[in-house]
């Protein structure tokens, strides 16, 4: 196999992305460092000196991280369960898992209102059972936001994980068990590390999705602001694309850092992944 062939395989995709995305984005982000033709960090300093902005940034990161973790915790066992099913069942379950992606955010938020609202199913049940005497405020809190985001992104996590899990040789799990690992330990020590490549993809999708999501936090999140709110306000209402690009650049850097850290962690779990 000639080395040059490798590059020919990569070239079309590379040229396409470079021409239509990389160059435009680099130019757009690059322009945030120039105001009136001189190089400046002004746009960025403005944000990082502002404790208010930093607090929102932190809140957003928290929400994204928690959502990602929740998706891992919910998605991993489910994906594993799906991957162990006979082919036919597997297909049906995967199909069911992706249905949430097909619903409009607005109707979805309406259904969450039905479930989480003060007169919603959960509160009715809680009050009815006498567990609480006043309906809980769940809707329009950060928790609701995370529930909505989890509902939105969990399918991506599940699909990514099923993709790797179904290719893990069952004998490995058996080998681990025969060496004394309980099902859980075998899972943790063997299946989990081997699933890391899929986990990383899933986690990146969920994290980035949560970080940049606008509609779901806006609809379910009550008064809580997230960083995407600023981006949208600046871009769409205030027509300030300079600031929008600054916020975007900050978000991009954060994602790259987080993805980098995740890859690092993945490497220690599965050096051969």
């Amino acid at each position: 196999m000639k080395k040059s062939v490798i590059y020919w395989l990569l070239l079309p995709g590379f040229v396409f992305l470079a021409a239509f995305m990389i160059i435009p984005i680099v130019l757009t982000i690059g322009s945030t460092f120039f105001q009136e033709n001189s190089f400046t960090f002004e746009g960025y300093m403005h944000f990082f000196r502002d404790p208010y902005f930093l607090k929102i940034l932190l809140t957003t990161l928290q929400v994204s991280v928690v959502t990602t973790l929740v998706c891992v915790v919910l998605g991993f066992p489910t994906a594993y369960y799906i991957s162990q099913k006979a082919p036919r069942r597997k297909g049906i379950l995967l199909a069911l898992a992706i249905f949430p992606l097909l619903t409009s955010p607005v109707v979805r938020s309406f259904s969450w209102m039905i479930i989480l609202g003060r007169k919603g199913l959960i509160n009715n049940a809680l009050v009815g059972l006498g567990i609480v005497d006043k309906p809980l405020d769940i809707l329009y809190t950060p928790a609701a936001m995370m529930i909505g985001l989890t509902h939105l992104f969990l399918p991506l996590m599940i699909i990514s994980l099923v993709g790797v899990l179904e290719n893990i040789d069952n004998d490995l799990l058996k080998a681990a068990q025969s060496l004394g690992a309980s099902r859980i330990t075998a899972f943790r020590r063997v299946v989990f590390p081997l699933a890391v490549p899929g986990l990383v993809i899933g986690a990146v999708l969920v994290f980035v999705g949560s970080l940049t999501a606008y509609t779901t936090p806006a609809l379910l999140g009550g008064k809580q602001r997230v960083i995407a709110t600023f981006l949208y306000q600046n871009a769409m209402t205030l027509n300030d694309w300079y600031l929008a690009s600054v916020v975007a650049a900050i978000m991009i850097v954060i994602t790259f850092v987080v993805v980098g850290v995740m890859n690092k962690m993945a490497k220690t779990l599965n050096p051969k992944g």
Partner: protein, 263 residues
């Protein structure tokens, strides 16, 4: 050993209830006869389903969405599959950089990507709107195609590929007849994720639509800015039914979801 699965099964059941419960509510409310979403509904009516077909925009934009998603998917496969293959099969200089590059469209906030694409593709490169929309959607599909396929290739036994080569099949042929069928599940998953990602996309489409060119999500968004009736719920239900049918067809025609089986 069966019993051990029960805990896992129960857990998965709860997750599925979490995922599908809201959809059930949506489905139920879509039959509401009144003009406002209600739960529980006050009766049964199909009027909002009729409304989908009577409101010209939905069918037209649905068609556009499907075409764009399919064409974009095809384009992304053409660009992405060779790249995914190269990235997972070979070690070479600059691999990690390229890996990051191909993932990057996911890492950029959608609205910024959308705006930038509009500025460059339409304003500077003077591409027709429809083409711009197609390119934009291809860009956002590419990382899904590449990453998902690459990760399923990473567990592929390449000795099998060598066996085919030694039996006289050319590289291209080997790829299509031997490698591809064995990563079907990966390809299908990739195509599915990419399709949904594109089909649901708002951020890019918002900027790449124009007079006469619009996508279903944009149309739906426009609709809910002005109406509160259960039409959107009805559309969601129809989309789910359609997906269900599609799955069923895949199941029947292509011999089932053996596509998702190991090896």
């Amino acid at each position: 050993m069966r019993e051990k699965h029960i805990g896992l099964g129960l857990f998965s059941l709860l997750v599925f209830i979490f995922l599908l419960g809201p959809l059930l509510i949506i489905s139920v409310t879509s039959f509401e006869p009144g003009t406002v979403l209600k739960f529980p509904p006050e009766g049964f009516s199909l009027r909002w389903y009729e409304n989908i077909f009577n409101t010209g925009g939905f069918l037209r934009t649905f068609q556009t969405s499907i075409i764009i998603s399919l064409l974009g998917n095809l384009l992304a496969l053409l660009l992405g599959v060779p790249a995914a293959y190269a990235l997972s099969r070979y070690d070479f200089k600059g691999k990690s950089v390229l890996n990051a590059l191909f993932l990057s469209p996911v890492l950029i906030p959608g609205i910024v990507l959308g705006f930038t694409l509009m500025k460059y593709l339409i304003v500077i490169y003077h591409l027709p709107m429809y083409l711009g929309l197609l390119i934009g959607h291809t860009i956002i599909m590419l990382p899904f195609i590449i990453r998902v396929i690459a990760s399923s290739l990473s567990s592929f036994d390449f000795a099998v590929e060598e066996a085919a080569l030694s039996l006289g099949a050319g590289r291209v042929r080997t790829f299509f007849q031997i490698v591809l069928p064995n990563i079907r599940s990966g390809i299908l998953a990739a195509v599915l994720i990419a399709f949904l990602e594109s089909f649901n996309n708002v951020d890019i489409s918002v900027f790449m639509t124009g007079p006469g060119v619009s996508t279903l999500p944009i149309q739906m968004l426009t609709y809910v800015e002005n109406y509160f009736d259960p039409t959107i719920a009805a559309i969601s239900v129809l989309l789910m039914v359609l997906t269900g049918l599609l799955m069923f067809v895949i199941e029947r025609i292509m011999g089932g979801f053996s596509y998702f089986t190991k090896r």
